[in-house]
Symmetry: D3
Subunit: 274 residues, 6 copies
């Protein structure tokens, strides 16, 4: 029997019109491996098919929203002895997953809300930037896209979402120099409201409570229609970027460049933990 | 003899290169009915044809710039006994007017300046967002697009103007939750300058005076040429949005959803006045 | 009780995955008035909502597919004494209907098939050009867009569909000079197959029979997905054109120019019939 | 040591400015499995990096240019026992390869010439349609896109290349009904010249000879510059289509629909061979 | 006093709604130098400003419509001793003229009609392809874009007009190989009607006579409005191509490549004349 | 022997991956004449061709980054007695240079960094807005686009860069009224970081030092790839704007309007200096 991508590290529940997805592996700072990202995409599809749901809400736990790709799973993938050519291996491991999860976020029809309890890095940060509305727990959150230091190009349609939301100037600065985008730049561009709280559970609850109260006077069926109208301006751009980004990245994977960076990061990480 | 859409409630005058349109029904908070919006469009066309005019300036009176569609006229339209099918009635009443007034604002070649003395709501707020430059009287102004609470989708090309001017994050927040867009979000995005004044007449005069002084050193014929260059980036987007928005809205009108909301608002309003 | 737009002159039936709409007023050459076009649009929506249907098939009867707008209904509209301003009257009569029926054809998700038994003129011809596939009964069919002779601009998104399908050269020739587009230009551009038949009933049956046989080996659910992929290239263009065309046309209606032409045509027509 | 995708069934050689790729498995009608398509892409990249090369020429052998995806390799893939979820398996097997090979053809900077000695089917036909210039051996060639009968959506950016080259009418007819596009429709749209020959080797030679003679008076460095100018109109469309097509297809693969079709075809094929 | 670009070799007259421009230097096959192209542009502007004119009609004389750029004027330009750097010289001589004349044709609002009495080459051929409607005298006409043999890239927005009108396949074939586009490819794509005549004067008259008869039943003010609607699809593409083409070409001029070709052609030409 | 555009007033040096261009004529406030702008473009091309270079850094000297076009060189150009028509003169002097320098900045593949030590005006300010990242020395910097007061339209693709970076509202305000865009509007939109320094040399050094430190952990080859991905959204818009802007401007030059303004400015300037 075939396996599935579900994991104890990502949970979900439906609460009225809210489909809530929660990253719950604070120990790893909610690092996600390839199957985790696919599971996220599958949950979005589950939400898509549920006609009672109007909002897909991403929440997390611990200090980080998500520290991005799990270095160790990449190292493991790299070391796998296989008769497959390098190209095929990284197409299967990297391209196919990125192109799918990015598309699932980019073409999701329900309102996508991200509750940033802490920093988000890499592909996870790209998914935050693909959400329609982002709320922050406090002003310690940041987004970090370390593509230029890892030896990769933009992922998750960030070549479109960042200029569109953050503006040209800071997009270049943060993408070229792998600089964190701190709260003062996120406020009003990517983050719609800051809750100024300290406790993740309370933050997650507070957002849901406020959403429930906000939607009381609304005629909910208009929401996906309004989102559809807003998406017409950029949805084709997201699809275009998705294809170009993964195909531009594959040459770096075939040459082993990001793998080498991830290995170094993984070793540092292990050291830090000792 | 056929009637016309002119009304005591909307006045205009030409002052040198300025074609000034003034909403002057403070008692109704400058609520506008279908014919009023058409009259606004006709005045824009009058300005368009006047070759001495370089600026079309919208001004208002009283506490609100415009409280939006006049609920009572919609209620009346709904109650009209007619042999026309519901579809035809709302196509004639809603679609045809919205598609026309939005187009007239979107393709106006003179510089469109809006002097916001107070809040603007609904289609009136959409017209403010279609203006090239908006000045505010003070920091109490706001824009409110209550489409999701009324059971409608975006109007007046707001699915394009808001993301373009206000940014993605606050566009979703304000459109989905029918939240007012207060001055702190408008400042520098939709509002170019805040006059920090209290008196509408003085505000209206002050803007005109400052404009007169600003244009003294200018070679005016370049202005429509510069606007034409700037419009090339988004004018086709406005036309596309205009068509899709009205055609997406008609199904809500045929089902009677916004009418029901307007009726409730109208009753509340009457109560408030008692 | 409100009326509806249905008419003895337009019938429909569902035959398996086919929603067949049939113009059946050969005596008037299937001229259509404003309500008839709205009824067509309502039938498209009925087809849209029927999840068993994969194809919406337009068929007709007699010598013409459709001779276009019914002159006499326009003359009648013009003569109606009303207190409404001319602008409002023609917005309600012309703009609102055109913008709606064009949109319904442009955004229909089922496969739109047009069986041209004879010539199509004006807005009816524009709807043929909006169909995904057109079959002709014989080489006597033609499309005629007499906008330049009536004093109107393009309707029904022909400013997009004609260049896209017919090519630039013949689009200019036929639109500017109101020249009929005869079978030799339609073949392979707008018409996918010519049945070379003489009898309309047999032609209508033959197309349906061939369609039934063609779809036997198909996995039908892919069809709307394939259409959706193909539409991504031009659907936004159709919406843009729809808005601009109706708003460019309204000034001609307000000046009474097409009405005068229709009156003349109507009188000639009456004479011919004597 | 990692394997590679090279195969006896696809050869290449460099002849002056021509990088010639030849399918040479006439026994299988040049059916291609997943690795074969990747090898094609790798050869395009090899050509890309060779600064003496100005043309990448695709040639084939036997009766078919290429009969498309190798059914048996798909059946084999399906039967592989694996702990991987279905989604991951088909992302790795289908999405990642299609998105890569399509991109490599779509963004190739050298002039892509396809010498069609016979029919091309499926993804192979899509690659022909991505070439800049196609020459046919005789009028027996055809393209067949059997997506609707297999239970798939368009592949290889055919949702863009076919309407652009073949026109709207025949694109719908051939894609929706899985109808072969015969020479009379290809001539002048996708095929630039028909050599009217019978022998593949002589055809392949004749094309190369004529190309050598045609380029004698040319200043070759202008060719990629001219192609770059021509590509600006549609290259972004190809990237967008690539992403949307593979992501729309994956749901069919996860449900096992194309696999079932391929299995049936594979059994028929075996029967035919007995 | 400053000179002007007018020349005995290009005449014009206004005949009712027709602004007729006639190349009348059959001895040189209507070769045009830099100033001639600018004079053409100035005549288009003259037509633009004449509110009685609805059509700008290009006609010629002798065996060729226009053999393109005058080789000898380019040779002369090259030999001019000047203190100006090569870049500045060719920017002034080539870029500035091409970008201007192309723009004047691309954004002309009157109906542009080209009467091809014979072949057109190079930039002159590009201007034919920019016209809205082309009529041919007989089937000996052809267009030739010898950019790849001269060592230049596409000019006059041909990177947009040719694919749009002629289709992708023959655009690549003719541009890459500097192959003439003969009547069988022009018919129905770029040429709307062939007059099958032998005498240029009679052809020129016949076209004008037929145009006069065609416009009799028309309401002329709709014509520029219809053209405006049709142009919305591609006018921005023409502007984009114009900028990119001239800026891509300049590096070839600075290196002296086209000049060398023109010199060779000029010498051959002189030989042929002896 | 042909001259070249190099000048003592613009220097450059290569420092590792940095190609630094320095305006060093503080006496004229770094006013630039036509040849100076071409020399800037040539230096960009030199940087483009240097495969060790990843950044092109613009720096200046004295109080102004650049006060824009050198009035006196324009006056001189105007007074030149020449047999050339006015059109040709200004095409050669203005159009050809603007279209080239704008294109060189718009399509530069290295990271473009601008170190604003002080105000930038006119075309020089437009070039700042074309840079990927701008750093300011202190909050006294501003951009000034005095097109409407000089009698010109936007230059240097500002009709695209300003709305994209600065937002719609302030773009209209500053372009229409020739208002300086002061630091409070530039901060976070066009300026990525403010160094709050007083000394230009130290500022220039500090930026380079910080850049060197920022790039230490980076894998540099990703930088142009990331820029390429980001440029896909707007590069075609820049090219389109470039063509339309210069062609819209030429009519003002032919009428002598900007020349008159420059003459007045030049006289004032001389007076100020006395």
């Amino acid at each position: 029997m075939a396996g599935d991508n579900s994991s104890e590290r990502i949970k979900y529940f439906v609460d009225g019109p809210f489909f809530v997805i929660r990253l719950c592996d604070p120990g790893s700072l909610n690092a996600l491996n390839g199957n985790d990202y696919l599971y996220l995409a599958e949950l979005l599809e589950k939400s898509e098919r549920n006609s009672d749901v109007y909002f897909t809400v991403l929440q997390s736990s611990g200090r980080f929203f998500s520290s991005g790709a799990d270095f160790q799973s990449i190292s493991k993938a790299q070391e796998t002895k296989t008769s497959e050519p390098e190209l095929n291996k990284w197409l299967a491991y990297f391209v196919s997953r990125n192109v799918y999860v990015t598309d699932m976020f980019a073409r999701h029809s329900k309102i996508l809300i991200c509750c940033m309890n802490g920093p988000a890095i890499g592909l996870s940060a790209a998914l935050c930037a693909l959400c329609d509305i982002v709320y922050s727990m406090n002003d310690k959150v940041y987004l970090l896209f370390p593509f230029s230091s890892i030896g990769l190009v933009t992922e998750g349609a960030t070549s479109v979402t960042l200029p569109m939301k953050l503006g040209s100037s800071w997009t270049f600065e943060s993408l070229l120099f792998s600089s964190p985008i701190r709260f003062d730049k996120l406020d009003g561009t990517i983050v719609a409201k800051n809750y100024e709280m300290d406790n993740v559970e309370k933050f997650n609850d507070a957002v849901l409570e406020e959403l429930k109260s906000k939607i009381k006077p609304l005629y909910l069926p208009t929401l996906p229609d309004i989102k559809k109208l807003l998406r017409e301006r950029y949805s084709q751009e997201l699809s275009r970027a998705n294809s170009v980004e993964v195909n531009d990245a594959i040459k770096y994977w075939v040459r082993g460049i990001p793998q080498r960076s991830f290995k170094q990061l993984s070793q540092k990480q292990r050291k830090h933990k000792l």
